[in-house]
């Protein structure tokens, strides 16, 4: 009478496991806007690297007869105060703005994760010490810290990255600490401990996978805001060297001529906006894919 019918466990393909990389990719692919953003960023980055070969004018070629040239067929975006082609500069400069965003976020994330995990995992005195330091760092707006650090470090591409990386690190550290604390106290960790898992195994199999998805979301959104802050820094004159065709720096010098030659202001700004928007769109899609709260 007792007839046990074994159900064939259906093969679950990898792209159906929520939170896995193929799953996130599958979700992003269904979002048209996110895909447009991704394609925009990738295309721009490629163009940026090959721009010395594809652009008619070099980004640094000065030609005084083209000074302030308005957009035309020869110079689609016009020329700046030294007669340099703005299109070439914008394309060449893309890699600066993007890589400052990506690398400074990477720096913040790495440093934040290490500090946050140490604080969360060890607790006690170490935790207290780290958290009080972060309190100090977070007791004034991040952009001001970035400005101050850039003043100390001086201008330069890698210095901007370090300054911004330090300035925005506390948020990552706090987030990491909070998720470590939540995970550490959860019942499945207790279960794992009860099954005699080693600390290393617990960290590797349980803590990291569970802490990582909020981190990815934060990084995805962080790149966009870091890019924005980086361009503000350059605009104020604290970022990369003034001769670098970074978009914020270009706007900074264009500002003087805004009344008569607004084209110098408009194009770099549009590119900042479009790039940050693209990062935001991709970040949004990643968040929606990873955040179970927003799903039905």
């Amino acid at each position: 009478m007792l007839k046990t019918k074994k159900r064939n466990p259906e093969k679950v393909s990898k792209s159906e496991v929520p939170g896995s990389l193929p799953y996130v990719w599958k979700k992003i692919r269904t979002r048209r806007l996110a895909m447009i953003g991704l394609i925009f960023v990738v295309t721009l980055l490629i163009l940026s690297f090959i721009s010395p070969w594809i652009c008619t004018y070099s980004y640094k070629a000065i030609s005084m007869k083209d000074k302030f040239a308005l957009p035309s067929w020869q110079h689609p975006f016009g020329c700046d105060e030294l007669g340099r082609d703005i299109l070439s500069r914008v394309l060449y400069g893309a890699k600066y703005t993007m890589s400052v965003g990506v690398f400074s976020t990477g720096f913040s994330c790495l440093a934040g994760v290490i500090l946050g995990s140490v604080a969360g995992y060890f607790g006690g005195f170490v935790d207290n010490l780290i958290m009080r330091c972060l309190d100090v760092f977070q007791s004034f707006p991040g952009i001001l810290l970035a400005i101050t650090l850039s003043t100390v470090l001086g201008p330069g591409f890698e210095k901007v990255i370090i300054a911004m990386g330090i300035a925005y690190m506390p948020a990552y550290a706090r987030m990491m600490r909070a998720s470590i604390l939540t995970i550490r106290d959860s019942e499945y960790i207790e279960a794992a401990t009860a099954m005699n898992c080693t600390t290393f195994q617990i960290v590797k199999r349980h803590i990291i996978p569970n802490a990582i998805s909020p981190l990815i979301v934060q990084v995805a959104m962080g790149i966009a805001s870091a890019g924005l802050s980086a361009s503000s820094l350059s605009f104020l004159g604290f970022g990369v060297k003034a001769t670098t065709p970074e978009w914020g720096a270009m706007l900074s010098s264009a500002r003087t001529f805004i009344q008569d030659y607004p084209h110098m202001c408009i194009f770099p700004g549009i590119f900042i906006m479009a790039t940050v928007l693209s990062f935001n769109l991709v970040g949004d899609a990643i968040r929606d894919a990873l955040d179970p709260k927003l799903k039905d």
Partner: protein, 329 residues
Amino acid sequence: MKNETTNNELLLSVQDLEVDYSSGGSTVCAVNGVSFDLHQGESLGLVGETGAGKTTIAKSIMQILPDHATKRVAGEIFFKNQDLMQMKEKELQNIRGSQISMVFQDPMTALNPVMTVGEQIAEGIRHHQHLDKAHAKQAAIKMLETVGISRDRIDEYPHQFSGGMKQRVVIAIALACNPELLIADEPTTALDVTIQAQVLDLIKELRRQKGTSLILITHDLGVVADTCDKVAVVYAGEIVEIGSLEEVFDHPSHPYTKGLFGAIPDMYKDVARLSPIDGLPPNPTELPEGCYFADRCPHATEECRARHCQLEHITGTHYVRCLKTEQEG
């Protein structure tokens, strides 16, 4: 004794209710053609597993299905001969809370955390009985005492109450305006066993005093036996067996109902082990063509898998949705 009540006026009649949700691009058929009647003063138990669509049936009657996820609602729900499905939102608001009200499953989340319990009870009273603030508060205090909570807790917030106390507050909110129909969605599931009994007794007592009709949603057959006159067994969004308490409990006819009874311990029989129902309910995004229970049914035949059958009358008020009874009948 219990059958007397059936002579009363028809209070609620649900006809061919169907509800689809949309979830991540696919359609979830939560309720698939549910029909039942409820007379004044009767109590009906809706029994079934988690995810069988019981809560959706309740929310459809209240007309508070979540807007963002609900894809399609069809069928008719007559309350005192008026179709709730065709009613305007304004008219529905006059019925909700005053004539039909609902007790939700989880008292921990069913109360607004930033409002005092007094305000939450008084809110419905003020709205339906058009009382001013002070009088509504008086009524709320009375209601609070009715469910056995002392009056000086009226200005406290939900987080200051224990689970069982919160469920009392939820019941107080539901019964504040003397509704004619109370829908209790698993009112005891989230509570301790001792508290469960208290809450059930409270509902029974209030029902006895006020003659409220009741739809009790539960997966606990014991609770049904204790509280209800009629039973409807819900599986995969449809009723597979419905009848009076005696009919269903004494002659369970659907294999699923039999399975449910097989899965509870019986004091008078000496069984070595309980027999659970194997397998899982069908995926509500892709329901099978034939009988939804066929995959788990020990008696399933090819015909079962091919054809979906209707509720068939057996005796009295007892109906069953199974090919076997259809053929025997």
